[in-house]
């Protein structure tokens, strides 16, 4: 009894947070039942008609659902791969730089786009990639290349997404990798030099193995994002002419659910996505724990 009284202030501190999380995270979880209803807002969750799996059948019958799942996977896997490898290369190159001032300035510059929203970055991209007046196509025309519609052609759109995502995010991972390199015991390098290893072999036999735990960690954690191809980016950059190559699950859910107000179908698609993500995120945390001894707390 005494301990209940002693612990009381701790419960009290958690109370407001618990209430808010319950209302805005747990009640929506219960709201997934909408996926099995012909949901009509005025009738509410308990008044709407139950229609079993009809919303899921409707989803499977949508003509472009396969393309959209394919786009989502293609874009996110390309982003994950580029997002893992580019920073490794840059961190290794930056590690060869002696000047501390240069290192710091470089990190500061490449890290800046991470903090700007996709609204700002999309505004910039739309301007510089414009086929008529954008500076990128102006530059390409110097070499006799015809204007490329980076945001309007299905051949280019996915790569524009991946490249601009790397632009925004590679600074973050580069800094994480550099921190890992800094943590490598310097005596390992001394031993390697004694054994006659040059810079290249030192990189291969000391630096890369030293980074391995962090690489494994970031790789496993990115597994949870396989179905997140980047809603904010795609939504601000796409247009109907690139739906074929750029429409993803999240943009589809938005159009069906918010614009067309087909709540049942949109919730059904969202539910399937959440369930797959649940498996992926749990697996990624489990793997990160086993392989890199990572714990969220």
């Amino acid at each position: 009894m005494k301990s209940v009284k002693r612990e009381f202030p701790l419960h009290l501190m958690l109370f407001p947070g618990i209430v808010i999380v319950f209302i805005y995270c747990y009640i929506p979880m219960a709201g997934i039942t909408i996926a099995f209803q012909q949901f009509i807002p005025v009738k509410g969750l308990f008044g709407s008609e139950w229609i079993g799996w009809d919303n899921f059948k409707y989803m499977l019958d949508m003509p472009d659902i396969r393309d959209i799942v394919g786009n989502t996977l293609q874009i996110s896997v390309m982003k994950i791969m580029a997002g893992l490898t580019v920073p490794i290369v840059i961190a290794l190159l930056l590690n060869e730089v002696r000047s501390l001032f240069f290192k710091k300035s470089f990190q500061t510059l490449i890290y800046l786009p991470h903090f700007l929203s996709w609204i700002i970055l999309s505004g910039i991209l739309i301007d510089i990639l414009s086929p008529s007046e954008g500076i990128v196509n102006q530059f390409l025309s110097l070499f006799g290349i015809k204007p490329i519609f980076f945001l309007g052609s299905n051949a280019w759109f996915p790569f524009t997404l991946v490249a601009s995502d790397v632009w925004k995010e590679f600074g973050f991972s580069t800094i994480v990798y550099l921190a890992a390199i800094t943590g490598i015991n310097p005596t390992l390098y001394e031993a390697a030099v004694m054994d006659g290893a040059n810079r290249w072999r030192q990189t291969w036999h000391v630096t890369l193995p030293g980074m391995a735990p962090v690489i494994v960690l970031l790789a496993t954690l990115s597994l949870g994002n396989v179905l997140n191809a980047g809603f904010e980016q795609v939504f601000n950059l796409y247009s109907p002419s690139v739906y074929e190559s750029g429409d993803i699950l999240d943009t589809l859910i938005y159009r069906i659910g918010i614009q067309d107000a087909q709540y049942g179908v949109a919730t059904a698609i969202g539910l399937l996505k959440s369930l797959v993500s649940l498996v992926l995120i749990s697996t990624s945390y489990f793997l990160a724990y086993r392989l890199a001894n990572y714990r969220i707390f």
């Binding site: 301990s3 009640i27 500061t108 609204i119 659910g257 709540y263």
Partner: protein, 294 residues
């Protein structure tokens, strides 16, 4: 060491520096280019004569935007959102992180509470139930819709609770012996000792509230209630100035001009650019605290 190796190393160093300098310029150039366009005359901009430096330097675009009531109103809404959101997020982060940082023998339900929060990382109801819930609680069209539903940022709670755990136990224990309770210890000892992590988390919170736009797009029925980033989404990305009622055709042409768009983009990014030097410093600490421990 032979001569060829050192010469090779020198060539590598030159190539490496050149590559990295070019890369960083490439990262920065689009932002500089847009700034240059916003400071150029619209004829120079549409003729494609602007690269990294303004041509026919003028503040006309900024002058025009800063006198536009829609822009100023959106800016004011963002300030309100950032202030309210910052206060709520920080308060709730500290209040949730402190009990969760306790060991199970001190706080027996700790693990249960921790899982209550972790589950929200693993699973969510998705867009539609989220929207309908906020709608049902009556927050739609009010500023609180942008602040209350996300008032407990679980990742920040985890970051802060990990820091709390790393604090020396002895300080807290001596305060308990002196008769202080949990509330007193939290505010008088734990929070002052945790300023580095709170500064880092506080800066993220400011930036994320400044940058958020999607929630307002869904939760606000009228563009007059949009914060700045959602307003920019409408004007710059969607190019839909008609959505803002009561404007003449000439005004619409002016809004969608390239220089005006550029100036609005730059003004939207400016506060981030101003706090960035501080962010950068704290964020490196935040990464080290958060993702690469153990």
């Amino acid at each position: 060491m032979n001569l060829a190796a050192t010469r090779g190393a020198r060539w590598f160093a030159v190539g490496n520096y050149t590559f990295l300098v070019l890369l960083s310029l490439l990262c920065l150039f689009p932002i500089i280019h847009v700034l240059a366009i916003s400071l150029s005359s619209s004829t120079a901009a549409s003729a494609g004569r602007v690269t990294a430096w303004p041509v026919d330097f003028t503040f006309a675009s900024y002058d025009y935007i800063l006198r536009k009531p829609e822009f100023l109103r959106a800016f004011a809404i963002t300030l309100e959102r950032v202030a309210l959101g910052f206060a709520m997020n920080m308060l709730l982060t500290v209040l949730c992180a402190y009990p969760l940082s306790k060991q199970t023998y001190e706080f027996r339900l700790r693990t249960v509470y921790a899982w209550f929060f972790v589950v929200t990382i693993l699973f969510s109801g998705g867009l539609i139930p989220w929207f309908l819930t906020i709608n049902a609680t009556g927050l739609v069209d009010s500023i609180w819709a942008l602040v209350v539903p996300g008032a407990v940022p679980v990742f920040n709670v985890i970051l802060v609770l990990n820091f709390f755990r790393g604090l020396p136990k002895e300080v807290e224990e001596s305060a308990f012996i002196d008769g202080a309770g949990y509330w007193k210890v939290l505010w008088a000892i734990v929070v002052p000792l945790s300023m580095p992590v709170l500064a880092a988390v506080g800066l993220f919170t400011l930036v994320s509230h400044w940058n958020s736009w999607f929630d307002a797009l869904i939760l606000m029925n009228f563009p007059k209630d949009y914060p700045l980033s959602t307003y920019l989404q409408l004007i710059v990305i969607n190019s839909n100035p008609l959505a803002l009622s009561g404007q003449s055709l000439t005004e619409i042409v002016e809004i969608s001009q390239r220089t005006t768009r550029a100036a609005q983009i730059f003004l939207g990014a400016l506060p981030i650019l101003l706090v960035y030097p501080f962010l950068q410093k704290y964020f490196v600490k935040g990464i080290v605290l958060g993702s690469v421990k153990g």
